[in-house]
Amino acid sequence: MPERKDERLSLPSVRLSAYESVVGEAEIEQIRMLAAPMAGATIQHLNSTYAGGGVAELLSRLVPLMNDVGLDARWDVIRADRRFFEVTKDFHNALHGAYEEIVPEHYKTYLETTRKNLELVSRDADFVVTHDPQTVGLVEAREPARTQYWLWRCHIDLAEADPRVWGFLRSYVERHDASIFHLAESGKDLLIPQILLTPAIDPLDEKNRELPQEEIERIVTGFGIDPTRPILLQVSRFDRLKDPLGVIAAYRMVRKWQDCQLVLVGGSAADDPEGEEVLAEVREAAASDPDVHVLALPPDSHRTINALQRAATVVVQKSIREGFGLTVTEAMWKGKPVVGASVGGIRRQILSGINGYLAHTTAGVAFRIREILSNKGLAERLGRAARTYVFENFLITRYLKSWLLALHSVRTGVRISPTYI
């Protein structure tokens, strides 16, 4: 049996009122009004880790904010061994459309671990939220006679999901009252409602808060980057799907016409053999050019990345595939013009020509970068619109608001006529 977790996770103290300076009094008031009828409702989030990855990052903000507006929110993590995580990693890849050798042993391991964790589910919670495939099976603990609402929050794109794995998980998903996806194109044809909530960034955390200009310049010059010359930046792990070599190729096309420097920033690749390989390829491609800076930073370099984003002239996200590019949102929030590949969620984040540019090819990326570099007014206009777009759609306060609406929706049921709260 897994060891039962008795104590709650100690989460950072996050107060909704702290966001008033960013989003305004009216927005905070709206959230409190929306939360008031839910006061005291208990909500349990279940996932597979307290640290690392976007899910844990979002929950570490969402749970304290839910508590601050009067809900009784808690976050629990399943206990599982290495084998279970290998299995769910294979599931994860297969759900993303990659070919994985899935054998009956996979399902057996998944079911055994799920059963051992059933006691983790709170019998008293009004809402239980399972996150991703790792915890979806916990719906086995659902008691039919009890009024308890179950939601499945899916953080991955199921568009090209392997039918064997999806067929196995689907029976669990459809025992929930509703599912939540980032985007419609990540969803499926399900028997339960599919709510859409796009991921958000926290404007007050280390990654996104305002920084003094002196600090930005100190950090940038510390890496040998010249803050007085144009800087192109891509922030992404060193992964072929992020196409760092394509970014270098685009930079070289731009350099034929305009002076600029390129900065490629990614997390440390020590635990990822393929990441190390890609990083080596990128370093080799950049070696002959002193204006290409390849920075492999530790995972907690939030402030450094914040400074680099603020120093950038143009931010690039030349991914080959992308669920939802949080680094795109971060750069847009900082008022930067972003040139993104026309793939996945980036197509929803960037309205090409309005708050950034979408491009399909390396030459297209280079062309848009040149356009921005040669027109300061355009860069400012795109940057302003980008910040406004994030302000209205992708901040954590908006995310909290959407979550509260989702809870109301599950409680009241699907209706076409307006629901008066």
Binding site: A159, E185, G187, L196, V343, N355, L405, I416, I421
Partner: protein, 214 residues
């Protein structure tokens, strides 16, 4: 002074995916015939709300998709000029959309298909209405309240009110005419189209007009 106050409310919407997607014009037509009414409402009205800082020529999602993804510019234009405010029911709007797409299908030589990520994903809205707690009796304070209201308030009382109070009508005009006895001002507000400007400009125009005629 009005006998009954104007009570400001706001509406918030939760978006859901209906499970219907279209990768070509025939599939779009099938979807228009079958999706829940909330989906027609969402793609007609919320397109306006989401883009209130970036007004484009193609105002609703169906028009944008036909123009941008299918490159059907004629159909895109025909769908664009559909004014959602002229319909008092979702069914009427749905029938008009079906009529336009069906007519166009009869004139095209081949049907273009698009890949998954360029498909039209039918979504729908569930709307929640909440009181803001603000109520006013006088036109000057009404104008001041309109000017500082969040866009959700203007969207609720002025844009989608048509589904509650009838074609060409909105909550502000109803109150101004019935309670403040200012039919001319009420009419001037009815003549403002939310499709002509973004919501921030619209709320200032409403406030300016009210102050001018108060």
């Amino acid at each position: 002074m009005a006998k009954k106050p104007f009570r400001f409310e706001f509406s918030l919407s939760l978006t859901r995916y209906t499970g219907y997607a279209a990768d070509n014009l025939r599939a779009l037509l099938r979807g228009l015939e079958r999706v829940p009414g909330g989906s027609i409402y969402h793609h007609l009205h919320h397109a306006l709300f989401r883009r209130h800082f970036a007004i484009g020529a193609f105002a609703n999602d169906f028009a944008v998709w036909c123009w941008k993804e299918l490159h059907e510019e004629v159909l895109g234009e025909r769908l664009t000029i559909i004014d959602p405010l002229e319909f008092s029911t979702i069914r009427a709007a749905r029938n008009r959309l079906i009529e336009e797409v069906d007519r166009h299908l009869g004139s095209v030589e081949f049907i273009q298909h698009v890949p998954h990520e360029r498909q039209f994903f039918f979504q729908e809205s569930q709307t929640f209405v909440l009181p803001t707690g603000k109520e006013v009796y006088e036109l000057p304070e009404f104008a001041a309240e309109v000017r500082k209201a969040p866009p959700d308030v203007i969207f609720h009382h002025f844009v989608v009110a048509v589904l509650r109070v009838g074609p060409g009508e909105n909550d502000f005009s109803v109150w101004i005419e019935e309670q403040c006895k200012k039919p001319d001002l009420a009419q001037k507000l009815r003549e403002l189209s939310p499709y002509a400007v973004d919501l921030f400009t619209l709320q200032n125009r409403i406030a300016d007009l009210v102050l001018l005629h108060a």
